[in-house]
Subunit: 110 residues, 2 copies
């Protein structure tokens, strides 16, 4: 679980999430990614570096271009970590005493 910090942190930025959304349509070069986002090329380049460092994308070299595409590594790690929360939430949902205790204190205290 080495990437978790970097992965969640990378996903916390809306520009980076938008970049990932764009990449679901397929590979894109840096300039192709700069275009839709009203932002300078160095800014996007750094976002890409962050995404790459987090294991969310990979890049290949194609002449002077560096096409990016989605990578599975980080998503897998995140999924595994979230599984813990999902499991606990599912369990709590079935424990009525929690719910009842919450209702009791939210209403009138004795």
């Amino acid at each position: 679980m080495i990437h978790l910090d970097a992965a969640f942190s990378a996903l916390a930025d809306p520009t980076r999430r938008a970049i990932l959304a764009r990449l679901t349509l397929g590979e894109a070069t840096v300039m192709e990614l700069v275009e839709p986002f009203d932002m300078t090329q160095p800014a996007i380049s750094r976002h890409l570096k962050v995404l790459e460092g987090a294991g969310l994308i990979v890049r290949r070299v194609d002449g002077t271009k560096r096409p990016c595409r989605l990578a599975p590594a980080a998503v897998t790690e995140i999924d595994q970590w979230l599984a813990m929360l999902r499991e606990a939430l599912a369990k709590n949902y079935n424990r009525l005493d929690d719910v009842l205790a919450a209702m009791k204190t939210e209403k009138g205290n004795p």
Copy 2:
């Protein structure tokens, strides 16, 4: 998808992830959460505020205590958003041309 920024950002911090992990075992008060983390109480209180703002936990009032437990809201949103990436990754996995193109450029360029 209002919480996405806050949720991913909240999860980016290892202390907050550890708090959530602790909460999978069940409700805990602020002081109970302070204890295992070598950090002051105000620091934990703020982490809890962040987690609550992100929809990752909820708190009830029990006298002078404020027990926290996991909430499903944020996890659901995150899961929905990640579904997009998972889907795209699954699709790309089947597109051999991508893989071949990557292999070609990674080896010898003509």
